[in-house]
Amino acid sequence: MKRRYLAGGLAAGAAAIAAYPVWQWMQTRRAPPRHNALLIGGASAMHALNVELGREFEKRYGVKVIVERGGSLQGLLAAKRHSIDIAAMARDLEGAEAEPQAHNHLIARDAIAVVVNAGNPVRQLRHELVRDVLTGKIDNWRTLGGADSPIDVVMRPRDYPTTRFVSEVVLAGADLALQARFKKTKDEVLAAIRQNPHAIACVATDDGGLPADIVTLEIDNIPITRETVLSGRYPYKRSLYLMTYGVARRQALDFIALAESPEGQAIVHRAGFIPVR
């Protein structure tokens, strides 16, 4: 009899111990810790930048910042539902998205330079030709006014922001050349360009500044400079926005003000983008 009670008690105790973490989990669900946190979601390209801005924001305001990715459109939709505070958008609002309630704060420009070896005689290309080279449709420099030799396309891996940018803005969704070589870092890409006079690559550039022995090509006769990227005339650029929808929380506006401040713009610069203030 006694033994049965003991067993029962032990079982109840075990159940209680097992239930405790569940109960804890339920408590945290009921009162989420993010309750006061600032939620930012959207473009993957802006994830690292927003994490850096968030770190600075937490330091200043003591408000936690949670940054999620998932794409510009997902960010926009979440902001419209008010399930996040700020949408990070790596593109302009299109068509019906441009509602009066969508407040789009420009915080940076992002640009891609098309680069070749200094020994390559080619100095400019039309956009259509850049596209055809990157997709592999054109595979010899002779077609572009260069030497009779195959074109060596060097890129960062497909899931890197630079290469995604190229797929979206330059290739409009078309596939990269099968023979493209992939290098993990920007330095490795630049090294490949230095080694091979027949190589071509796309690299992100913060304000048009690259090492002097790397040649950047003019696209449609437009050089990549701070001026042409800010004016928007250079074709391989995009705008990075922080968007709020409808009435925004005070903290969201503070975050945007931080991004637009000189300190925030310095973070933009360190993240490899072009400051707009």
Partner: protein
């Protein structure tokens, strides 16, 4: 005994939670005060910046002006983005840009929004462009009267043979309601009492140009400035062709204004930029015209 220990521990946690909340409250208060204290500093830091948004027709002109201005004033930042005339007006409303570049009135929705806000806007007229109807090169029609244009875009004339063309339906392409040239074309060609034909295809400028370029029976309107080296045929209106002579002499009247718009009391840098564009002497392009002389 054990139960008691558990209880007191729990109480301790509660006390901690309360004091944490207090600290958090104090932090929040600081957070609320900080921006108020730094607001003055922030505005003086950003005064070397001019953000311009709006009309796509006007965009390439302003891009060149911005680059010229930045080259002359290296410490300044002029950022240009499109989005259309209405978007330009909206950015003045929510303060996400300093200057709107516009080629007509905003959409009705945006106009109402501005009226409701009570915001006072300052117009800085810049130049004007000629608007014209454009068709496929294979279309035998070269000229339409102002009345024929109205009848086509309202949908009262629906076949090209009614205006001297082939026996084929007229496919009308128009721009979205936020488009400045669309609103100016509407005001000047259709007039307030009419509406665009409900069968019109609605598309942005680039798609309209591509659409009519691939449609032998299509027609659209645009600023001739937007048609540089593109394959559409521009029609004359009542036998007058859009050009410097006809526009400046007043014989060609289908023009749209290019205007900069700001909020009241723009920043010194914005004023400097507007001063620069107002004092340009070099011609911009052969399809952008001076404003009529003030009488």
């Amino acid at each position: 005994m054990k139960l008691f220990a558990f209880h007191s521990g729990w109480q301790k946690a509660r006390v901690m939670l309360i004091s944490r909340r207090r600290i958090f409250g104090a932090a929040l208060l600081c957070a609320a005060l900080l921006p108020a204290l730094t607001a003055g500093a922030a505005t003086s830091d950003t005064h070397r910046t001019v953000h311009i948004r709006g009309s796509t027709t006007f965009e390439s002109i302003v891009q060149s002006l911005a680059e010229q201005y930045m080259r002359n004033n290296p410490s300044t930042t002029v950022v240009v983005s499109g989005g259309g005339t209405s978007r330009g007006y909206l950015t003045l409303l929510d303060n996400t840009a300093d200057v709107a570049m516009v080629s007509g009135s905003p959409s009705e929705e945006t106009g109402d929004e501005i009226a409701r806000s009570g915001l006072k806007l300052v117009n800085v007229p810049f130049r004007r462009v000629a608007m014209a109807a454009a068709v496929h090169f294979s279309n035998p029609v070269n000229d339409l009267s102002a009345i024929q244009l109205r009848e086509i875009f309202t949908g009262r004339i629906t076949n090209w043979n009614a205006v001297g063309g082939r026996n084929a339906p007229i496919n009308v392409y128009i721009g979205p309601p936020g488009d400045g040239i669309t609103n100016t074309w509407y005001e000047k060609v259709l007039g307030d009492a009419d509406t665009f034909t409900p069968r019109a295809r609605n598309a942005e400028l680039e798609q309209r140009i591509a659409g009519v370029g691939a449609d032998p029976f299509g027609i659209t309107y645009l600023a001739t400035e937007s048609l540089k080296d593109r394959a559409l045929k521009v029609l004359s209106v009542d036998k007058v062709t859009a050009g410097a002579d006809s526009v400046l002499s007043g014989r060609y009247t289908l023009t749209a204004p290019l205007m900069f718009v700001t909020r009241e009391k723009p920043s010194p840098e914005v004023q400097k930029f507007l001063h620069f564009v107002n004092n340009l002497s070099a011609p911009i392009s052969n399809s952008v015209f001076a404003l009529p002389a003030a009488r």
